[in-house]
Subunit: 499 residues, 2 copies
């Protein structure tokens, strides 16, 4: 640890010298910065929000609820890992628009895309993809989305955002489940076709989707019924009465608490089994389970590979579908394209949803989840070729610049640093955890967490909270060890200044 | 009628001569075509789908359900009102991507937008608008979205598509309704904050949203519970048990059936009143009613201004909110920016949702529907500045080229033509109806409707069906009387060839 703690406090001056020196070769370049012209480090000139941001917050508040706005950004001047606000503050962005900017700001390769008139036409002519797709659509789905599909999943349905991806994945699962009940047929009875028009069974069956405490799967009414991270997301909104199982809550460090954590896995899996039985008995059988590979909004709660392996077996045994929600974990931040690829599952999950870093929403699924009839999973746009175009640009850069390797390298540096902080400041931090740069650390209280996040921002570091008392790191895939050094240096200053 | 029927059968040759002649002045230019280089008329070379489309449908079917695809388009060659497919067929598009292309294909002013590097950065840097909006966001909301807001609605929340706009509008209504129940306060009890995390009341209350038979409000699980247009959209999907009222079914022509239609209004309004009482008694009070100004997907079913006026009064009397869903009707096709502006309501509706022609989703609402706390209506992106940019371009052209006037003019020509067809082919068509170019006509059977739509396509006219037996017209706002002439000419040929 000592050796590491020396490493991460490389002084900024030295980093600056290095970054001038290492521009020449690709591997070394990755050690410094991938974006030419990126600031050398954060600069904070005003409170955040500063006076200009405050004025704009007032303006916005006159026309909508703006209480969640932290600052107004200057997206012309933001670059790479640095978010510049309207007051001229330059923040190292370790949160990247709630984990949705894979290549940071104004990446030259993405700006370049729109120099091509063909691509400009893609932006302007947005089709109803389910009816009149463009000539290049099947090829693009294959060459972009299916190129990075989780192994074993060769079907894909495109959507717009994480919530509608999960909602439509639920629908796909319900349709699949009911087709099984009909022995593989999709012949509907008159009673079914008529009753569904009035929201009544048997046409609108009382099926359920099981989810986990602490989960976040979106905020439209179906997705929200599987979300259980914070009450403010849910209160006053009607919900489906669907089963909710405990999600493992581990003791850290993991290697010192293996026996207790294994028992925790078993407790949660037994609850899942019980809920299958209970909801089947109630007449609301579980058609599928939705689970995040790492519960993100709910507090970066991990579960072991063994938990997920066993969960998949339980789901299969009960004739339901396993939906892994990779909206926040997918697209590379864990060091693999999909977080569940870390788990060594028996086979692919049935459905995997995505959005955020993938630019557009959607889900991969096994072929038997394809509905037999058209128009059952459908909407006007069914995704957006303009966003797939951006994803194409993103994935080309990820490959060319070996960004998944970079994520692993930077993530290792970050996690080692966070672990050394746990040693140095045990009263302030514990439970450093995560994969790749998808990392978090916990505080003993919400108050302390909020205080650390606020003081990190004053030092020019934009992070985010998650759960009750955790800080989450969600840097872009272009976050290098140099940026990790800056982050750790500023974080250590904040911790040292904490009384 | 005779005078009109002569007018609409202006031979194509003559139209071509005219269109060469009238390029000079703006007003006259609008009588021909607004898009330079637009084809003079449709050309059909192959079956549709043609061989190239069929091959692409096979390719797409290998990775997703592609049964709804009608053709693959060539969006490089499509222009203005003409959709060109991969087999070189040139179709006059009277359906425009399910009514979502306000300026047709490759409009020069929209292509021009992306010559501006500032706008390119808007495409590439997509923010989490609820947390880190760009410097220009409040101004853009005011100068673009609020400039065209329905009179009396000065708040706006942006979203992504029609479904999530309606879902989030429901949430806004539930939050507003519950705040009223708490006497204007938003202090939650511990029982509420805890029970909602498990989807149980009182935190997740059993409130309902009333909708109408035949309605279409989207396909995510909340929105789908208010959608009742076709069983294939709903079957096998669990739904909220919410009240569904009858929507007026009128006899046509309207002016000959006023007494019956007035009685029909009264019958439906009485049902609304009854359902308010019934669901209140059941413990599932109605927080809001959602209604389309013209039921679109469900069959272009109109209701009278008096119906909507009285509906608004009934809703108000019952302490609920009126949500008018302008996803398909909004943005100009009825000749006004918002269809409900034709109704002479006592005051603005409480909430108006939009999407499609508006490029991005969202809703306008009264100020008292703004939640007191942040994060209650929230998601990662909260809309998309890239789409607002396109809307800005669209609205500038709508103003500059007086497109709402053009819609009225072209719509009048279309409706007059459709009415003359009812006279000439009473066994094939009836109930021509609608506003602006947002028009429909009905057939005696689904089979005949499908046949007419298919044969119109063979003659180079892309229309769409709606409901059981109607044909809907959804041309772009740049559809001129010249295009109406072409449409009517081809339609008449099809009707004459119908045995």
């Amino acid at each position: 640890m000592a050796h590491i703690s020396k490493k991460w406090i490389t002084p900024l001056k030295k980093i600056k010298q290095l970054s001038g020196f290492v521009q020449k070769t690709h591997t070394l370049r990755a050690a410094s910065t991938l974006i030419s012209g990126e600031p050398e480090g954060p600069t904070v000139k005003t409170d955040i929000p500063g006076p200009k941001s405050k004025q704009l917050i007032d303006e916005l508040s006159a026309i909508q609820q703006a209480g969640s706005v932290q600052l107004f950004a200057d997206y012309e001047r933001s670059l790479g890992n640095y978010l510049v606000d309207v007051d001229g503050n330059v923040l190292l962005d370790v949160y990247t628009q709630i984990s949705s900017m894979p290549l940071g700001y104004n990446h030259p390769d993405l700006l370049q895309l729109l120099n091509d008139p063909y691509n400009v036409k893609t932006i302007v002519n947005r089709p109803a993809l389910g009816v009149f797709p463009g000539a290049d659509w099947p090829k693009k789905l294959k060459n972009i989305l299916l190129q990075v599909a989780p192994s074993g999943l060769n079907h894909v349905t495109t959507m717009m955002c994480g919530s509608c991806s999960n909602e439509n994945a639920f629908k796909n699962i319900f349709i699949w489940y009911q087709r099984k009940q009909r022995g593989g047929s999709s012949d509907f009875s008159q009673e079914e076709t008529e009753s569904c028009m009035m929201n009544q069974s048997p046409g609108s069956p009382t099926l359920s989707v099981m989810s986990f405490q602490g989960a976040f799967h979106g905020r439209t009414l179906g997705a929200l019924s599987t979300t259980h991270s914070k009450y403010i997301h849910k209160i006053d909104i009607p919900a489906f009465d669907w089963p909710i199982a405990s999600f493992p809550q581990y003791r850290y460090p993991l290697h010192e608490n293996q026996r207790e954590n294994d028992a925790e896995d078993k407790r949660c899996l037994a609850e899942v089994e019980d809920l299958f039985a209970e909801f089947s008995k109630r007449g609301s059988p579980v058609a599928g389970i939705i689970v995040e590979p790492i519960q993100s909004e709910g507090g970066d709660n991990e579960a072991s590979p063994q938990f997920f392996q066993e969960l998949q077996r339980v789901v299969k045994k009960n004739g339901a579908a396993l939906l892994i929600d990779e909206v926040q974990t997918g697209g590379g931040p864990t060091g693999k394209m999909w977080c569940h690829e870390h788990f060594g599952l028996d086979g692919p999950p049935d459905v995997v949803t995505f959005s955020k870093k993938m630019q557009l929403g959607g889900y991969y699924h096994k072929p038997d989840f394809k509905p037999s009839q058209p128009y059952r999973v459908f909407n006007t746009w069914m995704g957006d070729p303009a966003k797939l175009l951006l994803l194409q640009g993103v994935l080309e850069v990820v490959r060319r610049d070996s960004l998944l390797d970079l994520v692993q390298k930077s993530g290792k540096k970050l996690l080692t640093g966070l672990r050394s902080f746990e040693q140095e400041f045990p009263q302030l931090l514990h439970a450093a955890r995560g994969r790749g740069t998808f990392l978090a650390i916990s505080c003993p209280s919400t108050k302390l967490r909020d205080d650390l996040v606020a003081r990190l921002k004053k030092k020019g570091i934009q992070t985010g909270g998650c759960g009750e008392h955790s800080i989450r790191l969600r840097p872009a895939l272009i976050f290098t060890p140099k940026h990790a050094d800056i982050f750790l240096d500023r974080f250590r200053q904040v911790l040292k200044e904490t009384k």
